[in-house]
């Protein structure tokens, strides 16, 4: 179990000083999170003594005055980002948009300007809220770590010129993003696999081996953040089973999102350990019941009658196919976990026999819990799963079904079997749905495309239409107080309107 302030002693946490800021909380309870990073409080030369509490009460207050940003290692996807560059844990919550942390190494990287500002654009915060309330209305909150509230402020003066944080090709900025910024508030009881990888790379084994115990404890707690785990449950087989269960839970989450007609743009290379989708500021409300995708604006001409994948549309952009990226990320994680533990096992640390036995047992237990025919390792099983989802959700023509299944096989082969596939070219039809912009940046078509033969039933798009309208309406707001009021109104409206399955 991850306790409320579990992150304070996590090895991957970096404590960051904060100061009061100028945000207004939509919910009064979130007013305590009106903060921003204060790097100036770390003097170039100084002693930790100045941050040292004098009493136990001071210790609590002192810790509550800090943000805890988490270091991450995402295998194969470095991109100059080492962790939470604009986010962190604060008083039990996870905040995004509180300013540049010391982990924002990209602050001087022109190429990564969108992720180097410290802020969460208003449109990102709005989307986090809308998708969270929608999933709540559908009884599906479990598939994400929902945004429980927003704080909103007028945009920092340094960001008023959008070209300072958007590339020319990503302009124009949405009206709300030219005027406002947000902080998203989520529950803080989650960890990421990338945190575990970071810890694995940074074990402290030279002064006694207790860090090995901490590693496995945090792994077990992260996989089951809400379950108390006693010492008897901290055994290799139980941890390995929890890992397999978390993977299966995440796959179920993708199934649920697919059923509801929601996808997330950002590839989930960095999922929460317990399987919930974590970075939810770019949801796509495309609606259920058809096989579709959105196009890359730089390569796909809107109105085209056919699309080449993965050239015009990436495989990840096909609704439902995000699960392939998730499984890919998990393969990398499990492989790395196994090989790195084996290196530690073989290296000259003064492990006791029980410690070596634990590592050996865990490696065996992983193989047992995740055998070669498991969805994680078997491309065939993954393809069969996706095809079953499609059959269950879509009424498609036989010809379309064959084409779509071919697409599934190509996507799985490309991502999970590391084969370079030929382009797949498929006829597409624009879906009659007025879509909101996909995120703050102009990168994708503002229309969705159904593969020919998989046309959605218009009535099944009602909720998607409703959600896109709400997002578009919020994107146009430029006044802080009006945004606060409209967001609260949108939340209530979504809960009212979307209470039943689409």
């Amino acid at each position: 179990m991850l306790e409320s302030r579990w992150y304070e002693d996590a090895p991957w946490s970096f404590a960051v000083p904060l100061r009061p800021s100028r945000f207004v909380a939509i919910r009064p309870a979130d007013a305590e999170h009106d903060v921003e990073v204060d790097l100036a409080a770390i003097a170039p030369f100084g002693s930790p003594a100045s941050a040292r509490p004098k009493t136990r009460g001071d210790a609590r207050a002192g810790r509550d005055a800090l943000l805890y940003s988490d270091y991450r290692s995402v295998m194969g996807f470095y991109l100059c980002r080492v962790g939470a560059g604009r986010s962190g844990y604060h008083r039990g919550a996870y905040l995004k948009g509180i300013g540049r942390t010391p982990l924002a190494f990209n602050w001087a990287h022109d190429d990564d300007r969108f992720f180097a500002t410290g802020h969460l654009p208003a449109s990102g915060g709005v989307r986090e809220i809308v998708v969270s309330r929608y999933l709540e209305a559908k009884g599906a909150s479990r598939v994400v770590n929902p945004c429980r509230g927003l704080l909103i402020a007028e945009l920092a003066g340094e960001l008023r010129d959008p070209s300072s944080w958007l590339r020319r090709s990503e302009l124009p900025a949405l009206p709300c993003d030219r005027a406002l910024q947000t902080i998203a508030v989520k529950d803080g009881r989650f960890a990421r696999f990338s945190n575990v990888v970071w810890h694995l790379n940074h074990l402290s084994l030279f002064k006694g081996e207790t860090d090995l115990i901490r590693f496995f404890t945090l792994l077990a707690d992260g996989l089951r953040p809400r379950d108390a785990i006693d010492d008897d449950s901290l055994v290799p087989s139980a941890i390995a089973r929890s890992l397999a269960a978390a993977i299966e839970c995440a796959v179920d989450g993708y199934r649920e999102l697919h059923r509801l007609g929601v996808s997330f743009l950002s590839v989930q290379t960095d999922p929460a350990m317990d399987g919930r989708y974590q970075d939810i500021d770019v949801p796509v409300f495309h609606g259920p019941g058809y096989v579709g995708a959105f196009g890359k604006l730089e390569s796909f001409t809107p109105g085209s009658a056919s699309a080449r994948l993965p050239h015009d549309m990436t495989y990840s952009a096909v609704f439902g196919f995000g699960v392939i990226d998730y499984l890919h990320a998990m393969r990398l994680f499990v492989r790395y976990l196994r090989s790195t533990l084996a290196v530690y096992r073989a290296s000259e640390f003064t492990f006791s026999d029980p410690e070596r036995g634990f590592i050996d047992g865990f490696l065996r237990a992983i193989d047992e819990a995740l055998p070669p025919d498991h969805l994680l390792w078997s491309g065939a099983a993954c393809a069969a799963t996706l095809k079953a989802w499609i059959d269950a959700e879509h009424a498609v023509t036989a010809r379309c079904r064959a084409a779509v299944f071919g697409l599934v096989d190509a996507a799985v082969a490309s991502r999970l079997d590391a084969t370079s596939s030929e382009h797949v070219e498929l006829p597409v039809d624009e879906v009659p749905l007025a879509a909101a912009r996909i995120g703050a940046r102009v990168k994708f078509t503002d229309a969705f495309y159904a593969i020919a033969g998989s046309a959605p039933r218009p009535e099944r798009l009602d909720e998607a239409r409703f959600l896109n309208e709400i997002v578009r309406g919020l994107d146009a707001v430029t006044d802080r107080d009006e945004m606060c009021a409209r967001v609260a109104e949108a939340e209530a409206s979504i809960l009212r309107h979307c209470g039943a399955a689409p």
Partner: protein, 496 residues
């Protein structure tokens, strides 16, 4: 080859803003290094208005020491590359995640103590005077300032010690200046854990290029003709060259406390602020003061001292770290061969080839992997350098065997007691936050020749003189004086 500003585009580098500071350079050409970090210059929220002036930034390196992580130390927390040099003591960088951890206060202040700077300068000058400057990355000069007021109370940054804080450290702080053309294996390990290969970024090519350039920082490497066997051969030669450096440190009577991560990839010792001027010709040690009753005649490892603190034996710690680095490298490359990235067949073959070539270049009987070979080597060094009483020889050999068994052969930590005698040498303090005795101890049976300790005495005296100075300008003058004296006294002398 690492070119002058090689670090700007290294993947493990983090840029930080700087501002002018209040240091005075010992050498006029180092005045440009009078800078300190400026965390406040990174606003909480900000966009990209213009490209940063690279010469106005500090570039600090992320480091990963597999299994040897110190909580909060992510890399260069008070150091970085700047205008081609490597500066230590310029203030806390974004990698000082320990900034609020009182338990790690000695490494969390951003400053380099004056005594640390003085030692870097003295030991560097000594190596240069002996014609051995290439065994280390020498300190080229110091900048000195009056101590930051917040650090005037030494209890806020210094670990407990029965000894008072050195006078210079109560009044002054320093920046040391070194050559910037070096990388560490911990940088490479970091890169290995953070490769960007998911989007065809060619990071594998960059990885192997940086690996080779780090191993051969002063030689051009033609990446186009690079083959796995060449990489493996270079790694092997580097390991052997570095072992040779340890041999030479032992011969000269200079010992370093902690080899881990404190040497460059090409084998030069680079963190020079805690040298021990123990003098040559005997098997001895500096002993952990907290557990050492004064006047004791028996020491116990690992209670009173770590085996690595025994002069000549810290090559074992170097080999230990290299085993872990190379095992991690092979495992990671093996993993990438199997992983689900779009690496080409050529890339997979190359990675597999490097793994195979490393095994071939350094087989099981190589000194890196064979504890027996390591023991024979260290005993050979002792034979060549020390006069040992025949009756005590087995005890000293047993000490070597025990250290190797413990560090390299997975043996369980078992105490080992041996007799010691205080060496007749006036020692300077080991460093600003010493946890070592102010004397060196020879293992009983290892005869110390007084005439071979003259240079060590001279060096300890120079250090002790600097430790006593509290005025900035007097300190700078004394540094210059010490450098000249070392050149005069040590350059012409035969090896001690």
């Amino acid at each position: 080859m690492l070119v002058d500003r090689w670090y700007v585009n290294a993947p493990w580098i983090v840029a930080s803003p700087l501002k002018p500071s209040r240091f005075v350079a010992q050498r006029a050409e180092h005045a440009k290094f009078n800078v300190q970090t400026d965390p406040a210059a990174i606003a909480a929220f900000g966009g990209m208005r213009e490209r940063a002036d690279l010469d106005a930034l500090l570039f600090s390196d992320l480091q990963t020491q597999t299994g040897f992580h110190e909580y909060g130390r992510l890399g260069s927390g008070r150091t970085g590359y700047y205008r081609g040099a490597y500066l230590k003591g310029i203030g806390r960088t974004p990698l000082a995640a320990n900034w609020w951890r009182f338990g790690d206060r000695f490494h969390a202040t951003g400053h380099l103590s004056a005594s640390g700077g003085a030692r870097e300068l003295i030991v560097s000058r000594y190596f240069i005077a002996k014609g051995k400057g290439d065994l280390i990355n020498p300190c080229q000069g110091l900048l000195v300032a009056e101590l930051e007021p917040e650090l005037k109370d030494a209890r806020t940054w210094r670990r407990w010690s029965p000894d008072e804080c050195l006078p210079c450290d109560l009044a002054l702080q320093s920046i040391s200046v070194k050559e910037g053309r070096f990388a560490r294996f911990s940088n490479v390990t970091w890169h290995l854990n953070h490769l960007s290969i998911a989007k065809d970024e060619n990071d594998l090519i960059r990885f192997f290029r940086l690996l080779m350039n780090g191993l051969l920082p002063f030689e051009p490497v033609d990446v186009d003709t690079l083959v796995p066997s060449r990489i493996a051969r270079t790694v092997k030669e580097t390991v052997e060259r570095t072992i040779g450096h340890y041999r030479e440190y032992f011969r000269l009577g200079i010992n370093w406390l902690m080899p881990y991560n404190n040497f460059t990839m090409d084998g030069r010792f680079c963190d020079l602020d805690v040298p021990l001027f123990s003098g040559p010709g005997y098997v001895g040690a500096a002993i952990n003061v907290e557990q050492w009753p004064a006047g004791s005649t028996e020491a116990r490892a690992p209670d009173n001292l770590d085996f690595g603190s025994i002069f000549g034996l810290n090559v074992i710690a170097y080999l230990h770290q290299m085993r872990i680095v190379l095992r991690g490298l092979a495992a990671a490359l093996d993993g990438l061969v199997d992983a689900d990235f779009h690496t080409s067949d050529v890339e997979r073959d190359f990675m597999a080839g490097v793994v195979g070539a490393l095994a071939e270049a350094m087989p099981k009987e190589h000194v890196l992997w064979s504890g027996e070979a390591c023991a024979a080597m260290v005993k050979g060094w002792i034979d060549e350098e020390c006069e040992i009483d025949a009756a005590r020889r087995p005890a000293i050999d047993a000490l070597v065997d025990h250290a190797i068994a413990l560090r390299l052969d997975h043996a369980t930590m078992i105490g080992k007691t041996f007799g010691v005698e205080k060496v007749d040498l006036r020692c300077a303090r080991a460093g600003a936050s010493p946890n070592l005795t102010p004397s060196f101890y020879a293992v009983r049976g290892s005869r110390v020749r007084k005439d071979r300790l003259e240079e060590a005495q001279f060096l300890n005296d120079r250090v002790a003189e600097l430790d006593a100075i509290t005025d900035r300008d007097a300190f700078l003058a004394k540094c210059a004086d010490a450098v000249a004296q070392i050149d005069r006294y040590c350059a012409g002398r035969a090896a001690p």
